[in-house]
């Protein structure tokens, strides 16, 4: 008996060839992700998280190994990415940004209107539909980016540290919003974060990556039920225990990464 698999990553390796050396960003990562999983990836900075996501998004070619995304419905796009950092187009209004994926696929106007209207409402942006990004706060821009990805209705959502640039209040608020939207659709999500709290709050499963080269260090199940309330969850003792456990894995890796950096810095 085999469980259904949405994303299958097999022996994935990625090397970057720069002028004088070969840099291994991802080394032999294998993963099976079940449909509807909210899958979290944590790891020290520079361990290859973004690279992994970019390979899944088709923006980067793997050096070795393979990835498969099971596409059950051919009319929907395979994946949509919420990029790390500012990625909404400054030359488009909030509405046009959110509608981007649908417009590129030539979805009928009426449907675009309905879908985009829905997600702007869910992200609290309805009032700003006609505004340009330079008129928005950082948190609002991030919401546009999330609305754009959700409105595209992909099979898999790839989110690369979408909240890392936000302050604590905004982050908690958006996490709650994200969970609410996700509960409607139950999409398969791959979510990168460097915050252990965020990983435990949002995820069903957490992968901890090793620092350079990026490998799987641990895979942890998150036992909390859904729907979840972000603040209620954080008050529970099991929450703290899980965070502590994951920090244990991560601490060694962060220290490795730091030692690596100091070593490289000392040489030059």
């Amino acid at each position: 008996m085999t469980e259904p698999v949405k994303i299958r990553i097999k022996n994935l390796t990625k090397e970057f060839h720069t002028k004088d050396k070969v840099f291994t960003a991802i080394d032999d990562v294998s993963l099976d992700i079940a449909p509807g999983t909210f899958f979290m990836i944590v790891g020290p900075s520079g361990c290859g998280k973004t690279t992994l996501l970019r390979i899944l998004a088709g923006l980067e070619k793997p050096t070795g190994g393979s990835i498969e995304i099971d596409q059950s419905d051919c009319t929907r796009p395979c994946n949509s990415m919420v990029f790390q950092g500012d990625s909404i187009f400054p030359w488009m209004t909030v509405w046009d940004n959110a509608a981007y994926g649908l417009a590129m696929r030539n979805v009928p106007k009426g449907e675009i209107k309905e879908v985009v209207g829905h997600y702007l409402e869910r992200t609290g942006l309805t009032r700003f539909a006609r505004a340009y990004p330079h008129q928005l706060s950082g948190g609002m821009k991030q919401r546009v980016s999330i609305a754009r990805a959700f409105a595209n209705d992909p099979e898999v959502l790839l989110m690369d540290e979408p909240f890392s640039a936000l302050d604590e209040q905004n982050k908690t608020l958006l996490q709650e919003e994200l969970l609410r939207i996700w509960d409607e659709t139950k999409k398969t999500v791959l979510f990168i974060t460097h915050s252990v709290d965020e990983a435990v709050t949002l995820g069903d499963k957490i992968m901890v990556m090793t620092s350079h080269p990026g490998r799987t260090k641990a895979l942890i199940d998150v036992p909390f039920e859904r729907p979840r309330g972000v603040l209620e969850l954080r008050a529970r003792p099991e929450y703290g225990e899980l965070v502590y456990k994951i920090w244990g894995y991560l601490r060694e890796e962060v220290q490795h990464a730091k030692a690596d950096a100091e070593c490289a810095g000392g040489k030059s």
Partner: protein, 280 residues
């Protein structure tokens, strides 16, 4: 890649530096007093000029008094001669823009998007850009004859370089993440061009167009001095031949006015087609 990009941006900056200097000079007059001074100073200069002409301190054969020039200007307006020439020059500018500016824009954006195309065309542009455009006028006359075509081609060549160079720089300056977004959201080649490359490069393209119009004005005046029967350049040259110095000045004033009006117009166009540009 980044080295190549820097080169384009630098080139655009060089073509833009004169323009920017003018802008800065105008901007420094932010204070009210400064503004007053800058409004008054041309009049003061004109008054001094007028006075010295009347007192015979300057040679009025070369520097006729401003009021005399004004009389000539009104005369040329009334007879319609001035409008005929102005209209002829404007038409050539327009066709030159269509013939040189639009292809430059498209080619520049394609070069910005595609590395092989850039590699192929970059050396040609780098080699021909420094040639003074006025120096190719004889060749253009030879090839296109003395008629309308040679004038339009001169303007087209003048507009081509700044617009093309700025378009390439504009596309290369677009943050790579936007191109990744386009790819991730399955934009086709044409959609990439229309939704990302063109709007992303638009601020650069607009300054290219402003520079191009300035260049076009210079070249149309030169081209019309040789083998033309109409246009402001012809009017100036013709006036020189019959030693009607006042008319020469009227021609110069008219070119200056056109240049100024174009820059006002383009700034307004810019505000309209780049609504996301933050006012500074």
């Amino acid at each position: 890649m980044s080295g190549g990009k820097d080169r384009w941006v630098k080139r655009a900056q060089v073509t833009g530096s004169t323009y920017l200097m003018m802008r800065r000079l105008l901007k420094m007059s932010a204070g009210r007093r400064d503004r007053l001074i800058s409004v008054l100073s041309p009049f003061v200069l004109l008054a001094i000029w007028e006075l010295s002409a009347r007192l015979g301190m300057i040679d009025t054969r070369f520097f006729p008094a401003p009021i005399t020039i004004l009389h000539t200007l009104i005369g040329l307006m009334d007879s319609g001669v001035l409008w005929t020439h102005t209209w002829a020059s404007l038409q050539r500018l327009f066709w030159g823009f269509l013939l040189g500016g639009i292809p430059a824009l498209v080619l520049g954006i394609i070069m910005g998007l595609s590395r092989p195309v850039r590699a192929a065309i970059d050396p040609i542009i780098a080699a021909t850009y420094p040639i003074p455009k006025s120096a190719i006028l004889p060749l253009i006359l030879l090839v296109f004859g003395l008629g309308e075509a040679s004038k339009i081609v001169m303007v087209a060549i003048g507009m081509f370089y700044p617009i093309c160079i700025n378009s390439v720089a504009g596309v290369l300056e677009i943050n790579k993440i936007y191109l990744d977004v386009g790819k991730n959201f399955q934009a086709s080649r044409w959609q990439m061009f229309r939704t990302i490359a063109l709007p992303g490069a638009l601020p650069f393209i607009m300054s290219g167009i402003k520079l191009g119009v300035g260049m076009g004005l210079i070249l149309i005046a030169i081209a019309e001095m040789i083998g033309a029967k109409s246009g402001l350049g012809f009017m100036i040259w013709d006036a020189w031949e019959i030693l009607s110095v006042d008319t020469m000045y009227v021609g110069l004033i008219m070119i200056a006015v056109i240049g100024y009006l174009f820059s006002l117009f383009l700034t307004e166009v810019e505000r309209w087609i780049i609504p996301w540009k933050v006012e500074r």
